[in-house]
Amino acid sequence: MYPSKKLFACLLVLCGVFFATASFGASLKVAIVESLSGPQASTGLLYRTATQYGLDLVNEKGGWNGQPIELLEYDNQGGVTGASEKVKAAIADGAQIIVQGASSAVGGQVTEDVRKHNLRNPGKEVIYMNVGAEAMELTGAKAHFHQFRFSPNAEIRVKALIAAMKEADVLGSRVYAMNQNYSWGMDVEKAVVENADDGGYKVVEKTLHDTNKIQDFSPYVAKIKAADVDTVITGNWSNDLLLLMKAAQSAGLDVRFGTAFLDQPGNIANAGETALGHYVAHPFNMEAAGKAGEEFGKEYKAKTGHYPTYVEPQTVFAMNMLGEALKNVKAEGDSLKVNDLVVAMEKVKYKSPMGEMSMRSEDHQVLLPVAVSVVSKDAKFKVDGTDMGFKPVKVLSAEEAAAPVQEATNIKRPK
């Protein structure tokens, strides 16, 4: 039935790829291993769109070694098992760079797989480009020479949120940390506590709740109410964020939310007016980025049908940084020398529409400008087909937003 027919098609394609590549010299393959189906597909597909777009930009400028960079797509089927299998498949198919972003659990798996592969196959290393898994440990205890993170992390986001909200005088002195009970949520909670002195607030209470399992957030809103706070800082994403905000609104609770992922597509449409006045720290805001940002946004929209949002900008920037780094890496013999690329990446200074970005060599965490925005009807660009958008409040430069290298980080450099 399907398998045989698809297999046949697959074989044809494989043959095609084989002949297509056999006739040229060294070329570079980039593999994206994402959740392209199942419940988490919505984010995975955004990463795919943005990676494709970013690589197209690099290819327009000549690709690498005179040839276009090829993008291979793998569906990790939403889980670590699938991811591990597909990373192996990608490496076997000749990919030298693995791109992944959705889910820190999958990110942890990919980075470990890459590390082990590199240990076992010296001379045939591959790179993991983390474009969105934000758990601290990925650039901390789990950091290694061949991984890069191109997205902010919990500390960066919280730091930016607090700085901007304090400056706008909306933070108040009593803060509630409401987060999902897993590493990302814990990281955010930790960052909220650590930033208390800088922000001049008191963390009145902190809660870790089950991830994506709760339908009814009103008990949590009751807790917030009881704590009598001015601001809730939350790293919640997707449904957990929407339900929390909606429950707070319907209880008539007058608090401000500082969030990390309010700009996920569909959120504003679903929350409606409830979202007004809440804050988000994100790596890109079209209005804040001025003319360059607008240009980038328009071009992106012309190709993909929507403005870049949520995880897309950072992914496109990551591909651009890759393109910059590749400029300084020459083909050696038949292929790219990955270790050279890593070194080149550490030296890249890339000017995104938001400002200058670079890769920190100590932990391979990108240093990037972060915008803090508020949901408002005055925003220049509306989102989700509503009359609301993200109005920039403050832009922190890469240095301002940077968080210190973690103690656990220990990248061993090859000799």
Partner: protein, 437 residues
């Protein structure tokens, strides 16, 4: 029985699997590795489900426990391994057996749907608690380890892992097959067929159920251990409900009434997922459609279909049989093409981004959609006529082939033998025997 023939088949299959890596690319070897693990898991599951007649909804738990146990035996965060690499799945087996004994003792207190619900509750309990127990399960990031060289083999390459998996799967499946001939194996069948009678004969049905459960959990643990060796990590998502559902569906697609059915089902479906998921984002839809079709039209699964084919070849002369077979194949192909084309077209045309682009294009009309290397216009009649034509054509051939099969059967006096004895076979395994309660 034609044991000698069976031995021949199995020997050929194993021989093929042994030489396979020489002909396949690395990624395909990995895919076969996954197929083997899934096959072993489905086979282990089938001890309980097909042979013992107990439908477990939470079998991923024992698979996951096996893989966590194996990882701990491999040495988490330290280089010390408790066992040499090739023997690591023993840890999975042992812990699987022990947990299976406990869980089985509880679950087999009840029968039918209550049994299923207990297994579901146990698995969900583990799933919700596991991420909180960082020491054991490593939080949501899971735990990871590394295969160590042993017996002069590095176990660094996928090929080494493949042969290790193959050896274990062959051994474990062999053991399970042997089990069906032992007195215990016969008693497990009896558990499915008639517990009352078993009780009359003086057997302790509850203990027997517990042992069956534990054996199934043990072999699942081996499968989990092999998985752990392959991917060198595990995290709490391995407890997820949908993995339990997957093994259940795999077993049924292969056919639970035949020992080798689940092996085939799991192998085929794993390969399907592996190959198709990279090609289309709608593969879960196709998977769902396959499930529904198999349940409705192929209730004995792939094994039943193969059996039916075998019988047909013995019964009917080729000139009669070949046209009917051809018609069936043609109808399947046409319907498949029609469905795939329609779904893919719709998915692309209905996607929000395409709608935006179409709106942006304005009077120029919606842009073409690239599919199967060609450009299609969603506004044009031809596109939809093609998909309709394929579906209607397929439907016509289904009708045609059905009448052909009917004709065939009419030529046969003893048609009852040929009809797949569905009601009979699975009726006995009727898992929620309401009449009995």
């Amino acid at each position: 029985m034609k044991v000698s023939r069976l031995v021949l088949y199995v020997a050929v299959a194993v021989a093929i699997l042994v030489v396979l890596p020489a002909f396949l690319s690395h990624s395909l070897v990995n895919a076969v590795n996954q197929m083997l693990i899934a096959a072993l898991f489905a086979c282990a599951f089938n001890i309980l489900c097909g042979q013992g007649g107990m439908l477990s909804f939470g079998h991923s738990a024992y698979f996951a426990i096996g893989s966590f146990a194996t990882l701990h035996a491999m040495g988490v965060m330290s280089s010390e391994s408790l066992l040499p690499t090739p023997l690591l799945p023993l840890a999975g087996a042992l812990v699987g057996l022990m947990v299976g004994l406990v869980a089985g003792w509880f679950s087999t207190q009840r029968t039918g749907v209550y049994f299923s619900m207990i297994t579901l509750a146990l698995a969900e309990l583990l799933h919700t608690i596991a991420p909180h127990l960082r020491g054991l399960f490593g939080g949501e990031a899971g735990i990871s380890s590394m295969r160590m060289p042993a017996l002069g083999i590095t176990f660094g390459s996928d090929i080494h892992v493949y042969y290790l998996t193959l050896a274990w799967v062959v051994a474990a499946v062999g053991a399970m097959y042997f089990l069906t001939f032992t007195p215990l194996g016969r008693l497990i069948f009896a558990l499915r067929e008639n517990t009352h009678r078993l009780r009359f004969l003086g057997y302790n049905v509850h203990n027997l159920g517990t042992i069956t459960f534990a054996l199934s959990a043990m072999f699942s643990g081996i499968a989990g251990g092999l998985q752990a060796i392959t991917i060198e990590t595990s995290n709490y998502s391995a407890f997820e409900m949908h993995l339990s559902a997957e093994v259940l569906l795999n077993a049924y697609i292969g056919g639970v009434q035949v020992f080798f059915g689940p092996l085939i089902g799991a192998g085929v479906m794993t390969f399907f997922g592996n190959a198709v998921s990279d090609m289309t984002r709608n593969w879960l839809l196709y998977k769902g459609i396959i499930f529904v079709l198999v349940m409705m039209f192929m209730p004995t699964g792939i094994a039943g279909l193969l059996k039916l084919l075998g019988e047909s070849f013995r019964k009917y002369s080729l000139p009669l049989l070949v046209p009917a077979l051809l018609l069936s194949v043609v109808s399947t192909i046409l319907l498949t093409m029609g469905t795939v084309f329609t779904v893919e077209m719709m998915q692309r045309g209905l996607s929000q981004d395409y709608q935006m682009l179409a709106r942006a294009a304005g009077s120029a009309g919606p842009p073409p959609i690239l599919l199967f290397g060609r450009e299609w216009f969603p506004g044009s009649l031809i596109t939809w006529l093609l998909s309709l034509g394929l579906l209607v054509g397929g439907g016509f051939f289904v009708w045609f082939s059905r009448s052909r099969w009917k004709m065939l059967k009419e030529t046969d006096e003893d048609e009852s033998v040929l009809l797949p004895k569905l009601g009979d076979g699975s009726g006995k395994a009727g898992l929620n025997k309401r009449e009995n309660v």
